[in-house]
């Protein structure tokens, strides 16, 4: 790479990279192809004709499971997880730049949250909320609060216990990435801002944030993706409603048709569009930065 010429090393690595991409997309391609199966087609080859039949069925609602409700639910949850992950990780990242009591403990808790098998965390959260329900109900009865006695069923839900479960999964990732970001962050920019009389908030808003912004897109994407795909941690913690992966898993108990592939094709198509938009946004930020002549925070994540 010290020479501008593309040597054999480049082509070898390019070939390797190409194979890896092929490996990534190979099964995706089978999904896409099989999703165009004819009405008699199954989940495996051979193709029984070509049609849009399974997409039509998909939009009409997959068999028994209300896939679109679950889709919307998972999407909303993913967005909230994404935003909270970014905000909370940035705050925590800032905190970790200085010494504070319990910093080491907090770090190990974050790592532990990552490595405790998801199914255990999920079970624990399920148990916790069950106890909470009992406490609230008995309080309601003891104090005679009618709203609780009549209307309260459970505190569990996608946006309470479910959200919490997902955050225990995304925040450690977010925190680790923030470490990476702030460790390479040149503090002289902040010093300069402070010397010019900026308040801490102004320094953060106008100096730190713009520099780390592209990396935050990465954190957000990571948060969303992890939440969107999360299954094990959700299993005991979602209460009555299912997220998309849970519905999909439920679907595999009945659906034996390429509808499930049609859904895969569709989510991939949507992913492509979303990523393309984010990508365009990131390039825009880069361009603006290039004009300003700073190269800090250049990493994608």
């Amino acid at each position: 790479m010290h020479s501008e010429k593309r040597g054999p090393a480049f082509w070898f690595l390019a070939g390797f990279f190409g194979l890896y991409v092929l490996f990534l997309y190979g099964p995706m391609i089978t999904i896409v192809v099989l999703s165009f199966q004819g009405p008699q087609g199954g989940l495996t080859f051979p193709m029984n004709g070509v049609s849009l039949f399974w997409f039509e069925k998909l939009f009409a609602g997959v068999g028994v499971v209300d896939i679109w409700t679950a889709f919307g639910r998972s999407f909303r949850l993913g967005l909230i997880v994404c935003i909270l992950t970014v905000v909370i990780s940035v705050m925590a990242g800032l905190a970790f730049r200085r010494k504070f009591r319990g910093a080491g403990l907090l770090f190990y808790v974050a790592i532990a949250s990552l490595i405790v098998p998801s199914i255990v965390v999920s079970l624990g959260i399920g148990l916790e909320f069950r106890i909470l329900d009992d406490v609230i109900k008995s309080l309601g009865n003891a104090l005679g609060i009618e709203a609780i006695q009549r209307g309260y069923t459970t505190g569990m839900g996608i946006f309470t216990s479910g959200l919490g479960a997902h955050l225990t999964w995304t925040l450690p990732f977010g925190l680790l990435i923030m470490f990476a970001i702030f460790n390479r962050f040149n503090p002289s920019y902040e010093e300069a801002a402070r010397d010019l009389g900026a308040t801490p908030w102004q320094t953060f808003r106008h100096v730190v944030l713009p520099i780390i912004a592209p990396s935050l897109i990465g954190v957000g994407l990571f948060g969303f993706t992890l939440s969107w795909d999360e299954l094990a941690r959700s299993s005991q913690a979602m209460g009555a409603q299912n997220t998309l992966p849970m519905s999909l898993q439920g679907l595999t108990t009945t659906v034996t048709t390429p509808e499930i592939y049609a859904l895969g094709t569709l989510t991939t198509a949507i992913s492509f569009s979303v990523i393309a938009i984010c990508f365009a946004a990131a390039i825009l930020v880069q361009k603006r930065r290039a004009r300003r002549g700073s190269d800090a925070g250049k990493g994608v994540v």
């Binding site: 989940l43 495996t44 399920g126 005991q236």
Partner: protein
Amino acid sequence: MTDTTTTTTGTAGVSRRTLLKGAAATAGLAAGSGMITGFPAIIASEGVTLRYLGTAVNQSADIAKKAKEDLGITIEYVPVTTDEVTKRIVTQPNSFDIVDSEYFSLKKLMPSGNLMGMDSTKIKLADKITPVFTKGEIAGKQIGDQGTAPKKVFYLPDQFATEFSAEPTQWITLIPTVYNADTLGIRPDLIGRPIESWAELLNPEFKGKASILNIPSIGIMDAAMVVEAMGEYKYPDKGNMTREEIDLTMKVLTEAKQSGQFRAFWSDFNESVNLMSSGETVIQSMWSPAVTAVRSKGIACTFQPLKEGYRSWASGFGLPKTLEGKTLDGAYEFINWFLSGWAGAYLNRQGYYSAVLETAKENMEPYEWAYWMEGKPAEKDILAPDGTLLEKAGAVRDGGSYEDRMGSVACWNAVMDENNYMVRKWNEFIAA
């Protein structure tokens, strides 16, 4: 449930329902016979939403849609796996309003105190429920009751009892939704000779092409059928093995696994269909609608009746103890509606059996009834509820009639006294 909701306006309900169905003959029969007098008022539970926990197998969008039309009740399905249903009842009893659970789980569910007994006086057709459940017999003949046969766990001494009653009482644990008799599914085209015994599952001829299901409490029953068929041992009660019997059964399975007999284990419906239709397996334990699903792809698959008999299962509606008020009324209303025929016919057409046969029959075409329930050759093409062709005219249902199939049940899915030990041994088997 208040008096107003139990007041019946049978005719209104029937005419509306049957008009929608548009089967004139059946309509005349149903309205004329006045059998469904228990059909509840439509308005009472308008607007109620029921969170319906169960396996996706029983959760049909059509049934929810029909219930909405007829009752104004919104059914919100929560589809999970068989084991997960049990777990949610025990650990998250607040997360559903009505549950469709297997009877064999009841030995775990009732002692948890999270379900309540259902008041049979509020179930209009309670006395029409097939004697398979209430007495363990069919057409007056006793059927096999090894394992957790529904009759053993059908009644409770009082509403909030945690033990079962041997005698019929007012309180019912679960109101049956569907049940069936399971056996081995085979690919006759790839096997090419008759299969008559459970012992064939472990026949080395099918090395690498057999499968059983990885739900321990069901898998071990299939294994027990095999062990008995091979003549290795005769169990006093397959559904309640001693530790020694469990060890013996698992030893047979483990030896087979280590010699490469099994291609895979399946844990859900979809996996079983895919294994079979892609030719990965040619013989495996299977569920009736899964066989139908393979066949509807144009692949030969037989739900093979075997000389040792069937392993049967049943599931039914239960209610969480905390359910009250309008939701409780709505749940009873939904259950009454479920038994009143439309849903039963719908399930029968998928190859399941429904709880109240009379009402289901009224909602099926005579040729459908003859094919699914009487074991007669199909007069016309047999269609699934969604209109896909299941069988061409002239086909006969595997295993024959309702009485033939349910009458040959040898054992039921079960929870054993030594369940914990069994699960441990099953985990060892998977690891072996």
